[in-house]
């Protein structure tokens, strides 16, 4: 008797669940769009329509999360295109966006496996947008230092090593200070009693730290490759033809001749027009 009752209740529960699942799936697939449309303010001038169904919330939130995920991709794509526009190299823009992106899994590795932190707050997802912005900032600082190094005199342009050494010192210190400050600001959240906030602060600080490390290593290496392989425009076989293919050498020769390489327009604006 008891067994049959239990079995009946299990079947009833299962049937109810299946029915509910079927119902809400049916509404989701067939009615949701129409329901959203009729809730519009201009759908009917006399009657305002609203609806609510608790079981739809999860799917709606998942839909919003997917859409937010796409926005994160859009954020990376637009940063990538802007990097390309400003740096003028697909190669450097690609490496730049790669290093920005790589700082997230590296931070996650340190966060979860090195520091052994198990609490991964939903807030941590915000770090994707933060690093996209700050990472691009660091790339600009590095690239601008590299560009400006071409106009900093013969001593700096003696060789690629002396030039990159100057770039490293100039941009590295500036980025170190800003990255350290931003990291410290995020790490201040560890005093918060809320675990989610602490988790976010630590994760964001790690992301910023790895972004800095990657700019100074991976991106710097990419700039050297760019210098050696891609910086020359319209010269695929310069060495074969006996032309000078070294941009640093080229800048040095111009500096020795007393020629000043033109500045980019924004630097020119700030240096000349703005002041």
């Amino acid at each position: 008797m008891d067994i049959s009752l239990s079995l009946s209740s299990v079947i009833l529960t299962y049937s109810t669940l299946t029915y509910n699942l079927f119902c809400y799936r049916f509404i989701l697939n067939n009615f949701l769009e129409d329901l959203n449309e009729i809730t519009g303010a201009d759908y009917n001038q006399y009657v305002r329509t609203y609806y609510f169904m608790g079981t739809l919330i999860f799917d709606v939130i998942v839909g919003i999360l997917v859409s937010d995920g796409l926005k994160a991709i859009m954020s990376f794509v637009s940063v990538f295109l802007y990097l390309r526009l400003m740096i003028g190299s697909w190669f450097l823009a690609a490496i730049g966006i790669l290093e920005v992106f790589l700082s997230i899994p590296l931070a996650w590795f340190s966060f979860s496996l090195v520091l052994n932190i198990k609490y991964f707050s939903t807030l941590n997802v915000l770090c994707i947008f933060i690093v996209a912005a700050i990472g691009a900032d660091d790339i600009f600082v590095f690239m601008d230092a590299y560009r400006q190094s071409a106009r900093k005199g013969t001593e700096i342009l003696e060789s690629l090593e002396t030039r990159m050494s100057w770039v490293f010192r100039r941009s590295g210190k500036a980025m170190l200070i800003t990255s350290a400050t931003t990291c410290s600001a995020f790490l201040c959240t560890v005093v918060s009693p809320i675990a989610g906030t602490r988790s976010f602060g630590i994760f964001a600080a790690l992301v910023i730290m790895f972004d800095y490390i990657l700019v100074m290593t991976l991106f710097c290496t990419a700039v050297v490759i760019y210098h050696n392989k891609f910086e020359i425009q319209g010269c695929c076989s310069c060495e074969k033809n006996g032309h000078d293919s070294n941009p640093t050498q080229h800048a040095l020769e111009k500096a020795k001749d007393g020629q000043v390489l033109p500045s980019d327009r924004v630097s020119y604006f700030y240096r000349v027009s703005f002041l």
């Binding site: 198990k118 959240t189 976010f200 800048a251 327009r265 703005f274």
Partner: protein, 412 residues
């Protein structure tokens, strides 16, 4: 053959380049004062508006306010009164429990461990404690000042008192049928000796917990009073009363101010109940809910206060870093002033736009200082490392870092 360094690889709006007359304008002291005046006025307005920034008074929403599903939820929550069938949050007054022992709690490393329950040593559910607890139940059901706080079910306030059924069980025997339940609800049994003697409590509880409750739908006492009856199989570790809140429900998250008002009213009653029960029940009550509404209320306060303290701390850190990296007080001071101006401008602007500070806004404000530090630091650092007169150093700082700051601003 050409080198990319020689050419600007990007296009900037011609507006920027048509400002040839702007350079002498900025270098002129009088003009700088002319620019400073609207900036100071703007900052003054922002500071005034920042002081008007209020915590949110609307329920926290997970969806966009204009989302059709959110509109439906908002209307259901705000425009319709709470009815009997609506789920509501239960508020518990429990005697025999201390605050949770949070030694060793670090949710970063063990998210699931939130502490150990701590019981009052020597808690005894004696006859006097039972008697006074039943009186507290009566107060909760009848006190006119509690009308707005407690939800009604079938015309009566929804207050669960297991001591009532325990007393009736002791006085009338098993509450096995409707007749017995009606008798229990009539309260006539109270005129006799209904209290369970301390010596008999364990044996009475052992049989009582398995009997059917008069208030549940075919649930036994153990199931119906699971939150307020701490029977561990051999002794009663804690005992209490639960009631349904007229304001809180498991789904919505109300503004902190509204929940706190509700919370503080219950705290007032807790103090009154403690006075009556402290001696007989060997300790003060714990008043809490199990839907974490009061925890979230405290979190909202922490978010709001940490937004202010976090941003101020960020400004402080920026000042120290600037001072250490530049070694010049006035540079550090003015750069910090610039960061603080950014903070006030953002907070003032959002207040002007009619925003209030909820959980998400508070978190964003607390990371704002970290963001706004970068540009001032870059320019201050470039100024320090430039050579020549102050005008040349400013020119160099802008020339070297202006492009980076401009590009960084655009990507953010």
């Amino acid at each position: 053959m050409s080198f990319r360094n020689e050419y600007s690889p990007f296009f900037i709006h011609p507006f920027l380049f048509s400002q040839e007359k702007f350079a002498p304008f900025i270098l002129n002291k009088r003009n700088r004062i002319f620019i400073a005046i609207p900036m100071v006025i703007w900052l003054g307005i922002c500071i005034i508006f920042t002081q008007k920034l209020q915590p949110t008074k609307d329920a926290e929403q997970s969806l966009d306010p204009d989302h059709p599903l959110q509109k439906g939820a908002t209307i259901l929550n705000e425009k319709f009164p709470t009815v009997q069938r609506d789920p509501s949050t239960k508020i518990n007054f429990i005697w025999g429990l201390n605050d949770v022992d949070r030694n060793g709690v670090n949710q970063l490393f063990r998210p699931e461990f939130v502490g150990e329950p701590s019981f009052v040593e020597g808690f005894e559910f004696n006859e006097e404690c039972q008697d006074r607890m039943l009186k507290v139940c009566d107060t909760l059901r009848t006190d006119g000042r509690l009308e707005s706080l407690i939800k009604r079910n079938d015309g009566l306030r929804s207050v669960d008192c297991f001591v009532e059924e325990l007393g009736a069980y002791n006085a009338l025997g098993a509450l096995s049928n409707d007749e017995k339940c009606d008798e229990m609800k009539s309260g006539l049994w109270r005129s006799g000796d209904w209290q369970v003697a301390s010596n008999d409590l364990s044996s009475t509880m052992a049989s009582f917990v398995d009997t059917k409750s008069c208030y549940g739908d075919n649930t036994n006492m153990h199931g119906h009073y699971s939150d307020t009856m701490g029977w561990d199989g051999s002794r009663l570790r804690y005992a209490g009363i639960s009631l349904e809140s007229n304001l809180l429900d498991p789904w919505s998250t109300l503004p902190e101010e509204e929940v706190r008002e509700h919370y503080e009213k219950f705290l007032e009653y807790k103090a009154i109940f403690d006075q009556a029960l402290q001696d007989s029940c060997q300790g003060a009550a714990i008043m809490t809910d199990l839907d974490q509404k009061f925890i979230f209320m405290n979190n909202q306060k922490i978010y709001r206060t940490s937004a202010v303290s976090g941003s101020l701390l960020g400004v402080g850190i920026a000042f120290v870093v600037l001072l250490l990296s530049t070694g010049m007080f006035h540079i550090a001071f003015f750069a910090t002033l610039s960061i603080a101006s950014v903070l006030f401008s953002v907070l003032g602007s959002v207040t002007m736009m009619g925003w209030t500070i909820g959980t998400n806004e508070a978190i964003l404000v607390s990371i704002l200082a970290g963001f706004s530090v970068d540009y001032s630091l870059h320019l201050a650092h470039a100024y320090i490392h430039a050579e020549g007169s102050y005008a040349e150093r400013i020119t160099d700082a802008f020339g070297d870092m202006g492009i980076s700051v401009f590009s960084g601003m655009l990507t953010i």
